[in-house]
């Protein structure tokens, strides 16, 4: 039985009927054509599908679309291009997840320290192993 939901994605209201089993990631990609959010492992390990849910980082593959009913979703399409520029990445598959995780970290009070970044970002995998430029760019915005 389908369920009616409504949510705000990057500030725009969306309402429609979804199957309860539909994940938020598939809603974004297949129903809203927001294909910037990528799906890697689909069980919460790789971090590629990370989005912001009510301003907090969350795995969109571990969230059902029905759980996002009435909530605010922000995807890579709704965030600044300058936060982690494209040229920092090699293939770019992991970028959207890193951008959303970075945005969540930059919204934290108090801000994390730059030295904590490698552990904090362990939930985002880059299979090109191009971590250093990503961490360097983000470190530059953080204290010590």
């Amino acid at each position: 039985m389908n369920v009616e939901i409504s949510l705000a994605v990057n500030g725009r209201e969306w309402a429609g009927e979804v199957e309860p089993r539909l994940t938020l990631a598939d809603l974004l990609r297949d129903h809203l054509a927001l294909t910037g959010t990528h799906l890697g492992c689909e069980h919460g390990v790789c971090g590629a599908c990370t989005v912001l849910l009510d301003g907090q980082a969350a795995r969109s593959c571990l969230t059902l679309a029905v759980q996002a009913d009435g909530r605010q979703v922000t995807t890579v399409e709704g965030l600044s291009e300058d936060l982690l520029p494209r040229e920092l990445f090699q293939c770019g598959f992991c970028r959207s997840g890193f951008v959303c995780s970075a945005e969540a970290l930059l919204r934290r009070e108090p801000l994390p320290r730059a030295v904590e970044l490698p552990e904090l970002l362990a939930g985002n995998i880059c299979r090109c192993t191009g971590y250093e430029p990503i961490l360097d760019a983000l470190s530059a915005r953080l204290p010590g």
Partner: protein, 268 residues
């Protein structure tokens, strides 16, 4: 990697939720934060006919200071608990090991307890601190100790129509040790150990978190945290081997962690 179909209910009161579980029993699964259930649905390890989302039930949320300790509602998210003023440091330390921060924004205390992964931090903490679990069904409510609750890996002592409502922890301030060995920060522990007061627990090693009673007796008799303790821990620790680590590795590293957490709890 797509779930099989199910019907979805989102009750707005505990009574409404309990009547759904009374009606559907084993065919229903409770959805807390979804950080364990959603992947199990995707891998079709769980194929419920009905999913009952607990997100809109006010009775299941919140953290309260009680006469003897803390009462934590089952739907309290880890990130909410992290922000509770005066939270005992042992709880904060345990939470910091739960998944990545992107998981802790959604993951709940009750979800972790009921999922009962052998390496889960909440099952370990509940066993270490001798927590009490409050269960409810439309037939009434009952309370179980953590030991009674943890039947087997991924198997809590819940009847098909029952729901975990809250967990009660005794006052648990003071010195402690809590350590894990994991492949990368945020992964499930290959091995973990914790110590608080006179209690020692090993987790990720056996079927469910294990209180190391031999080590506890050794400490109660005035024994220290040296080689003798490590040997005792190695002898009594249940350990399983899998693709990630052999039983011998878990026992050896687990015993070393026991030595460390007992030392940390004594030194602090």
């Amino acid at each position: 990697m797509k779930s099989s179909p199910f019907d979805y209910h989102r009750p707005e009161s505990l009574a409404e939720a309990l009547s759904l579980f009374a009606e559907w029993g084993e065919e229903a699964r409770a959805l807390a934060g979804g950080q364990s259930l959603v992947p199990m649905l995707a891998m079709r390890l769980a194929r419920p006919a009905v999913v009952v989302d607990l997100a809109r039930i006010p009775e299941l949320r919140g953290v309260a200071r009680t006469a003897g300790g803390w009462r934590i509602g089952t739907m309290t998210r880890e990130v909410e608990l992290e922000r509770v003023a005066g939270l005992p440091p042992i709880i904060a330390a345990a939470i910091s090991h739960i998944g990545h921060f992107q998981i802790r924004t959604q993951g709940t205390v009750g979800g972790s307890l009921v999922h009962l992964d052998p390496a889960g931090e909440w099952p370990a903490l509940s066993m270490l601190l001798e927590a009490t679990l409050e269960l409810a069904s439309s037939r009434g409510s009952r309370r179980l100790s953590a030991r009674e609750f943890a039947l087997a890996p991924m198997l809590a002592a819940l009847e098909p129509d029952e729901l975990l409502v809250a967990v009660e922890l005794p006052d648990c301030g003071g010195p402690f040790g809590f350590e894990e060995v994991e492949r990368r920060p945020g992964d499930f522990a290959l091995v973990g150990a914790a110590c608080h007061g006179a209690s020692v627990v090993a987790f990720g090693t056996g079927r469910v978190p294990q209180r190391l009673t031999g080590c506890e007796a050794h400490m109660a008799a005035g024994g220290g945290s040296g080689l003798e303790l490590r040997k005792l821990a190695e002898d009594e620790m249940e350990a399983h081997g899998d693709i990630h680590a052999s039983a011998a590795y878990r026992r050896q590293v687990g015993a070393r962690l026991v030595e460390r957490v007992v030392g940390a709890a004594a030194a602090a």
